[in-house]
């Protein structure tokens, strides 16, 4: 805990405008991190953050909490639309490449089967596989893109206290890029919610 305290003094430090202190790290405020004592506290704090109209904020807990999406006011992810488009693309590509080439461009008689619409069953297995493949790849890479992954580090990892998020810590972080963010008011807001160990999280940019 002692090691965290100097961090609280960081916003007081005025960075010089010129390159006179070029070897001192340049820092950018990421946001305020507040700790909560239990699932219930975190849940109700999340509801209040949602109602206060914050947009860039998140909750962190060691395990998924049922109903947290609603408590945070998170809308349905757009990922399913991406997957639908991916799946449709896969099906279309498969049908075009098989039906287009073997029926349209160069009618190919295989096993005495017709070269018309009734050949369609022969193309189902590959269409099925390609639909699944495209959907699955869209799901994996789409979700990674939406989560802005991969990335090398996250400013929250600068907090020693935050390490407990994989064990017994429940946190809310309100980010600086939120339009409502205010250096004092947001801190006071989190304190009002019952947040403890409130830290200003900073990111080294250079």
């Amino acid at each position: 805990m002692v090691s965290v305290l100097p961090l609280l003094l960081l916003p007081l430090i005025q960075l010089p405008p010129d390159s006179a202190m070029a070897d001192a790290p340049l820092k950018r405020t990421h946001g305020y991190l507040a700790e909560f004592g239990s699932v219930a506290e975190l849940f109700h704090a999340a509801e209040k953050c949602r109602d206060a109209g914050f947009r860039f904020w998140d909750t962190h807990s060691p395990f998924p909490i049922h109903g947290m999406d609603d408590a945070m006011g998170i809308k349905k992810s757009i990922l399913s639309l991406f997957v639908l488009i991916g799946g449709c693309t896969g099906a279309t590509v498969a049908i075009l490449l098989q039906f287009g080439t073997q029926v349209g461009l160069y009618p190919t008689v295989v096993q005495g089967k017709p070269t018309n619409l009734f050949t369609l069953p022969a193309y189902f297995p590959i269409s099925f596989e390609l639909t699944v493949l495209f959907s699955a790849l869209t799901a994996v890479f789409g979700s990674m893109a939406l989560m802005k992954l991969p990335r090398l580090n996250h400013p929250l990892f600068n907090s020693v206290n935050f390490q407990r998020v994989t064990d017994d810590g429940f946190f809310i972080c309100i980010e600086q890029k939120d339009p409502q963010f205010h250096p004092e008011k947001t801190k006071a807001f989190l304190e009002g919610l019952g947040g403890r160990n409130i830290e200003l999280i900073e990111d080294e940019v250079a």
């Binding site: 109903g67 639908l84 005495g112 069953p121 022969a122 189902f124």
Partner: protein, 452 residues
């Protein structure tokens, strides 16, 4: 939060009971339909042997005729099979829920349990199929057996078949269960019902016993029992499918057929459960215990089994179509000819898979009570179409063969309404006996507050 935490201590002590007096008009209508239908069916079975319907031969186009009893036998098998598969699915979902140690579906588990005990009325409704005049019409191998046995030239049935029908000679041991001339079909019929009925009654018995005691031990017994009973269930339904449906053409082979019957049963039964659940909810039941989460879970299972059905039904078709071996293609040959071809494409392929698959894709469709019920009703319709497609083409005349088709379809509808009314009536009666949800189940609270 979308819904608030419900504690079981705030629920009424005895659970909720279905009030049959509130739906007195419907039960009276069902009773009327059942009585009229059963009397009509008895007349058709007993006197129908003397009435002939004209038709044309499927291949040669020559005028032929068949009796009303012959036509009605197929109708009866069709209707019996539809409701049998719904009960099968009810037992499957109960077994699966217990064997997988699930908690989400405790709220709705009484419905599949009640659906499964309909094996008892179905046993009685299936008895007409065992009469020689009916079974020798439907399953022609029995007819061939009795002809071979009566010919008297050979020392035994086996010898007689050795010369007259080599395929039946090889299948004799299975078909007769080594019981000489008596078709093994009949004892097997009762064995299936015994295995399925015991499973259904044991699970419902344990579940109902908890309503008053709240004891945890029946849950553990049901779990152990279900794990052991699932293989017996699978064997029963596979061989029932072989005996009753695939056996309509004894020369046809498909090892996939049992799975086909199972997939259809599971998806149709889940569709029926959704229809019943939503209808009960709309009429004021389940108000404290059921949420959109339950419908979402049931909708997902229905969606998954729609895909599973398509997967195995297509695999069966695809392998047979591609290999193009005469013994195997005969099943699809008659179903891909004339009117049945359109029926196969539009009602079985598109109706049973593409339409529900696309409609069930959005999450909102599965969480909206009215929408998910509408899709479930369509799936039930498609399941009935599939059952019709399994059985009726074996009757002979082409789908579009007038005017016999009009008579034949009327007979099919009569059988369907009769068995439907009887089973619906017994289902409602057994549903009203106990609470609509297992009010003493230790995992009821977990189930009510489920979030997925």
């Amino acid at each position: 939060m979308s819904h608030h935490f419900v504690s079981v201590s705030t629920l009424p002590a005895g659970g909720e009971k279905l009030d049959l007096s509130r739906i007195g008009k419907w039960t009276a209508l069902l009773r009327l339909g059942a009585i009229v239908g059963l009397v009509l069916s008895a007349v058709l079975f007993l006197a129908g042997g003397a009435i002939k319907i004209g038709s044309k031969d499927f291949v040669s186009g020559e005028a032929i005729s068949y009796t009303v009893r012959e036509a009605f036998s197929y109708s009866w098998l069709f209707a019996f099979y539809v409701f049998f598969t719904l009960a099968l699915g009810g037992l499957f979902w109960t077994l699966l829920h217990n064997a997988s140690n699930s908690s989400w579906g405790v709220v709705i588990r009484r419905l599949p349990e009640t659906l499964a005990v309909q094996f008892v009325p179905l046993l009685f409704l299936g008895l007409p199929l065992l009469f020689p005049q009916v079974r020798e019409t439907l399953w022609t191998w029995m007819h061939d057996h009795s002809v071979a046995a009566k010919s008297g030239e050979a020392a035994s049935l086996k010898d007689a078949l050795h010369h007259s029908n080599h395929l039946l000679y090889h299948k004799l041991n299975y078909l007769t269960l080594w019981w000489g001339a008596v078709p093994g079909f009949i004892p097997r019929f009762f064995i299936y019902f015994l295995l399925l009925g015991v499973g259904a009654y044991a699970l419902r018995g344990w579940s109902v016993s908890q309503d008053t005691t709240g004891d945890v031990r029946p849950t553990l017994s049901a779990r152990r029992f279900s794990c052991g009973w699932l293989p017996l269930f699978a064997i029963s339904l596979t061989f029932a499918g072989f005996d009753w449906i695939k056996g309509l053409n004894y020369a046809w082979f498909s090892t996939m057929f049992g799975v086909n019957v199972f997939a259809g049963s599971a998806v149709a039964s889940m569709a029926l459960l959704i229809v019943i659940t939503v209808t009960l909810f709309e009429n004021g039941y389940f108000k404290r215990v059921l949420t959109a989460e339950h419908l979402h879970l049931m909708g997902k299972l229905m969606h998954a089994f729609t895909i599973f059905w398509a997967y195995i039904a297509f695999s069966q078709y695809f392998l047979i179509w591609y290999a193009n071996i005469a013994e195997e293609t005969q099943f699809y040959a008659i179903r891909n000819t004339g009117g049945w071809n359109y029926y196969s494409i539009f009602l079985v392929t598109i109706g049973h898979f593409f339409i529900p698959f696309i409609l069930l894709l959005p999450r909102a469709a599965k969480k909206n009570f009215k929408r998910v019920r509408a899709i479930a009703l369509w799936i039930l319709f498609a399941h009935v179409c599939e059952a019709y497609w399994f059985i009726i083409p074996e009757r002979g005349p082409k789908l579009a063969d007038q005017p016999a088709i009009v008579w034949a379809v009327m007979l099919d509808a009569a059988a369907f309404v009769t068995i439907g009314c009887v089973v619906a009536l017994t289902f409602l009666k057994s549903l009203a006996q106990h609470s609509l949800y297992p009010c003493g189940d230790p995992r009821l609270q977990e189930s009510i507050n489920v979030i997925n």
